[in-house]
């Protein structure tokens, strides 16, 4: 992943056909692909579902589409040299790899959405973190599972036993929720403001410091982009 061909390193133009790259090279700015990798890793490590990166994803997909078209054009051009063909191959390979990351990112979210479908569809605060399509799928999926449980089991049981939300002391709840106490490795991208630890003390992370903490401790920092999960 570390040897992107130059085409993918270039920031995608915000408007179509704007080719001028005005971002000064001196500023170390994350390329869209690096951003995607960061969000992908965060999503894979976090127990909870994170805010969707719909815009970034859309830009990447547009970019891929454009590059694929360009590659087709260049390949069809009889005058392109051996050297160019080699570069085309690199670009194509890189496109496949970017697609792999996007696919894995979407599937990771899908997995969490299905796992916590009932929790997500009943908790409005989470809805804004999902795209419309994801939210629709969560609702449909949780409905599907409930229908399946009803048809296979619950409708045959006495009426008193048909609830899907028994709250019994000493039994785990029937709606699975993300385990925010799960330990994660957080890497500070900037110096972070102090965060409160479960035992009441506070922790301050310097830039580039890596800590092993429960997820809920760094949840806010992660949302602000001050840390990444590694």
């Amino acid at each position: 992943m570390d040897e992107d061909p130059p085409e993918l390193n270039r920031r995608p133009a915000p408007r179509a056909n704007a080719t001028v790259d005005v971002i000064p090279q001196a500023v170390v700015e994350e390329t869209p692909f690096q951003q995607l990798i960061r969000h992908w890793m965060n999503e894979r490590h976090a127990p909870d579902i994170l805010r969707t990166q719909e815009g970034l994803l859309g830009r990447m997909l547009d970019h891929i589409k454009k590059q694929t078209d360009d590659v087709q054009l260049l390949r069809a051009d009889p005058d392109s040299s051996e050297d160019e063909h080699f570069r085309i191959m690199l670009v194509q390979t890189e496109i496949e790899r970017v697609k792999f990351v996007i696919r894995s990112y979407i599937r990771t979210r899908l997995h969490k959405i299905e796992k916590y479908a009932r929790y997500i569809s009943t908790t409005p605060e989470i809805h804004e973190r999902l795209t419309q399509a994801e939210l629709d799928h969560a609702r449909r999926y949780s409905h599907l599972v409930e229908t399946h449980f009803n048809n296979s089991v619950l409708q045959s049981l006495p009426e008193e036993q048909q609830s899907l939300n028994d709250q019994v002391p000493f039994l785990p709840p029937m709606i699975p929720v993300p385990d925010k106490t799960r330990a994660v490795f957080a890497h500070a991208l900037d110096a972070c403001p102090p965060v409160r630890l479960p035992d009441g003390s506070t922790m301050e992370m310097d830039k580039d410091q890596i800590s092993l903490t429960p997820y809920h401790v760094v949840e806010q920092l992660l949302a602000q982009g001050a840390v990444e999960l590694v």
């Binding site: 994803l57 997909l61 891929i64 589409k65 694929t68 191959m89 194509q92 390979t93 496949e96 790899r97 697609k99 792999f100 990351v101 996007i102 696919r103 894995s104 979407i106 599937r107 899908l110 299905e114 795209t131 419309q132 399509a133 994801e134 629709d136 799928h137 449909r140 999926y141 599907l144 599972v145 229908t147 399946h148 449980f149 048809n151 296979s152 089991v153 045959s156 049981l157 006495p158 008193e160 036993q161 028994d166 019994v168 039994l171 029937m174």
Partner: protein, 215 residues
């Protein structure tokens, strides 16, 4: 037989299918047995509640103990029933994704056995409700896909376990799959032949077991 034995048996079946990485036949018999037990228990609990002295319900220790016992078994059995069904759904979804979301392939006749996943004759092992679930799940995903990535470029159902290293892949045809459009034109894949093709063009055929990767 003690209360809860059948339910335990159900959970053991789930565990076994997890370890064997397979999906056992839907145990309709056992599920019904547990459901019958639940109905009997409900009757017992209602009878016990009726016996409680209406004036001072807490006083009759023996009856209260009965109620607690029945209630505990009922809750446990119910959880076991649901766990059994939920676990099967998870396994079904795994199978579904492992063949790249090719539902017809999954539910088709046993003659077209899927190579690695041995999903052959899956249908006879499912309950009718599970087949319904799978269909509805497939529909929901197709809706989802058209909502998120409405583009030909990205195949949501392709594998996500190994990042691609090469553009091209050498494949051996395991089953005839007819003429496929590829980058270099149409290729008629016939059993036993080998081709060097672009991975993206045939990825879904590899996943579905038509082609075998030659490494």
């Amino acid at each position: 037989m003690a209360y809860g034995d059948d339910a335990t048996q159900l959970v053991i079946e789930s565990k076994r299918s997890q370890h064997a990485d397979s999906l056992l036949k839907y145990n309709d018999h056992l599920v019904r047995a547990v459901i019958r037990e639940q109905r009997d228990l409900e009757k017992l609990i209602q009878a016990a509640l009726a016996r409680l002295a209406p004036a001072a319900p807490g006083d009759d220790v023996a009856v209260t103990a009965d109620v607690v016992l029945y209630q505990t078994v009922i809750l446990r059995n119910k959880r076991c029933l649901l766990a059994y069904h939920a676990h099967r759904l998870d396994r079904l979804k795994d199978l579904y994704w492992s063949v790249g979301g090719a539902l017809p392939l999954l539910l088709s006749a046993p003659t077209t056995a899927v190579s690695a996943n041995a999903a052959g004759d899956l249908r006879s092992r499912l309950s009718p409700h599970e087949v319904d679930f799978l269909r509805a799940y497939n529909d929901s995903l197709i809706d989802f896909r058209s909502g998120v990535i409405d583009t030909e470029e990205l195949d949501l159902f392709a594998q996500i376990s190994k990042p691609p290293k090469d553009l091209h892949v050498l494949v051996r045809v395991v089953r005839d799959c007819g003429v496929i459009q590829t980058e270099v034109g149409a290729i008629d894949f016939r059993r036993g032949q080998r081709f060097l093709v672009r991975r993206a063009d045939v990825e879904h055929l590899i996943v579905q077991g038509y082609l075998d990767e030659v490494s």
